[in-house]
């Protein structure tokens, strides 16, 4: 069985495992969707019982799991009790919003952080390196929540950006670029927060990897042939230092759907985050399970892509060099 085949099997097994755990934990969590109704004296227990059987929640867990798996294979993830709509389309719509946010943030992060990491490594100890170091340390130390709230407070104070939501009201009929500009304005705050937090980590890793490679004898040998510093850095050193960065890249990909949850909730962006949060709080069973499964698929897929990219890019791994990895 070749490498890819083995990875795919492992991925499937992981998904099954996660789904089982999802079911178990959601079931074990105290309370259910109908708790509010139970407290309400106007709703009779029979009504609640009827609602429960209507949504299939009175069946044993195994049966529910079995039915869920069967329908999941048809891309039907069940029914949301809270929203009264099928889970899958709702998830997908929200996932798209999240992707818009996180993909933009990821692109910005990597475009800024990789050159910054390389430059600060090359100019170690100089002004750029020192200021970046302090900035990075701060960003890593301060919780994401605090940064988000701080920027939110600034935005409110100076009214520069719209707060919350993805679009303004009454925009139908206006030209496309106006709508795009509007979304961009709404997006700016969460994207800044995400970029700040993620790029700090990437800068650190890239810098460390590049610093290590700069010690290697081949770098001195390359400079000895009169190749310019910047070419040595980007064309010779960076590819050799790419391994840890690619692993991080995989983590970034993996976290595309799940990493922005906190920021979305705080900034009011209508993505997957708030949806899953609400669903969890209100025990909207199939929404919770569905949301977690979609996130998991992304996570596993992202890691798989990263591993494949690593194998393709690093010739030592690709050709089975004795001291690779």
């Amino acid at each position: 069985m070749n490498y890819l085949g083995r990875r795919l099997i492992r991925t499937v097994l992981l998904l099954v495992g996660v789904s089982v755990l999802c079911f178990l934990f959601t079931e074990m969590a105290p309370g259910s969707f109908f708790d509010d109704m139970r407290v309400n004296p106007q709703i009779s227990p029979e009504t609640i019982a009827m609602l429960r059987s209507h949504y299939g929640l009175d069946q044993p867990l195994i049966v529910r799991y079995g039915r869920w798996v069967k329908s999941a294979l048809h891309a039907d993830l069940g029914y949301s009790i809270a929203y009264n709509v099928p889970v899958a389309p709702l998830l997908w719509g929200r996932a798209q919003n999240t992707l818009l946010l996180s993909v933009t943030a990821m692109l910005l992060t990597w475009l800024i952080a990789v050159p910054l990491g390389v430059w600060t490594a090359a100019r170690r100890g100089k002004a750029l390196d020192k200021t970046t170091s302090i900035g990075v340390s701060l960003l890593v130390a301060i919780p994401e929540v605090v940064i988000a709230v701080a920027l939110l407070a600034i935005a409110v104070r100076w009214r520069v950006l719209p707060i919350g939501g993805m679009k303004s009201e009454d925009l139908d009929g206006l030209p496309l670029w106006v709508r795009i500009k509007d979304i961009a304005e709404h997006m700016l705050l969460p994207v800044i927060v995400l970029t700040l937090v993620d790029s700090a980590l990437v800068v650190r890793h890239v810098r460390a990897a590049v610093l290590e490679i700069l010690e290697a004898p081949f770098v001195q040998a390359t400079r000895g042939f009169g190749i310019s510093r910047s070419r040595v850095l980007f064309r010779h050193v960076l590819p050799a230092a790419a391994n840890p960065a690619i692993s991080l890249f995989g983590l970034s990909l993996a976290g595309l759907l799940s990493g922005s949850l906190l920021v979305e909730v705080i900034c009011g962006w209508p993505g997957l985050g708030p949806l899953i949060l609400d669903a969890t709080l209100s025990r909207d069973f199939y929404m919770v399970v569905g949301g977690i499964m979609v996130s998991t698929i992304f996570m596993l897929g992202g890691n798989l892509i990263a591993d494949i990219v690593l194998t393709v890019i690093d010739p030592r791994i690709r050709t089975g060099a004795p001291d690779a990895l």
């Binding site: 081949f218 001195q220 040998a221 190749i227 310019s228 010779h236 050709t319």
Partner: protein, 332 residues
Amino acid sequence: MAVSAQKSKLLQIQELSMTYFPATGNPVHALDDVSLEVRAKEVLGILGESGCGKSTLATAVLRLLPANCKHQHGQILFRDHDLLTLSESEINRIRGREIALVAQDPALSLNPVMTVGNQIAEVLQPHVPLQSKQRQERVRALLGEMGFDQPSEIYVAYPHQLSGGQRQRVVIAQAVACQPSLIIADEPTSKLDPPLRADVIALLSRIHKQFGMAILLISHDPTLFIGFADRVATMYAGRIVETGNCKEIFARPLHPYTQALVRLAKSAATDSIKAKSHFPFIEGDAADLTVKGPGCRFEPRCAERMEICTCNVPPDFSPEIERSVSCFKYAE
């Protein structure tokens, strides 16, 4: 003799002193008043044991020393320009194009994630304006000249896929790519098996004849120089202790250190089988470069030491034409 003296001096190192200041520990006086010249088209050997500063000398010429190595005094004149005063872009024009360094360990001095063909092409890129296709042609031709039967296959190979000997030839190809006037080869054979060493020297000899470049060959193995080098300089504890014609130096070494080295080399080869017999060696440990005493650096290990050797550093004496010895035995 007169003819060779008139040969143009390509590289002149004058009273060069360099000291390392490591983060912890004492300063290391790697080069102490080193004076040396390399003439056009000649092969000059530098013979010295590990820790004598010879690698520092090699990297100092191309200004590749780390930041913690400070230039104390002296000059490195290449065609009458002091390399130590050039700007970064000026020295970059010289590196690879006029002077090329064949680094010590080819396993470590090649980029592990780049094909060897591209690594040779990268040397051409800043110095020789060529289209990408032409560059590749040139690299393949170069690989052929290095003795590779299948240049196209080697072009796309990665360093870890090649043997030690092949890697060494790739590194030499890099050095030769722009046909520089001087190649500095720092211990080109020390990491190779003995049967391959002769091959590498034969290759260097061939390109020396073919391209007419000067070669500065640095090694701790005296046998590399015989039959290849024109002149040899012996180095000890950061100083040049003897210089002269290669045949002369090995036939009649004058400095006690050179004499000891030649004796060792001969006993390793010609005494052949004498099972369980002790090896001849030079008494004492290698010089500690962090300590800079007043006298001759070799004095503690010298069989012929004199009073004067402990208090004064011997200057260079010329007991014969084209011979320079830094030893009080030859004081007039």
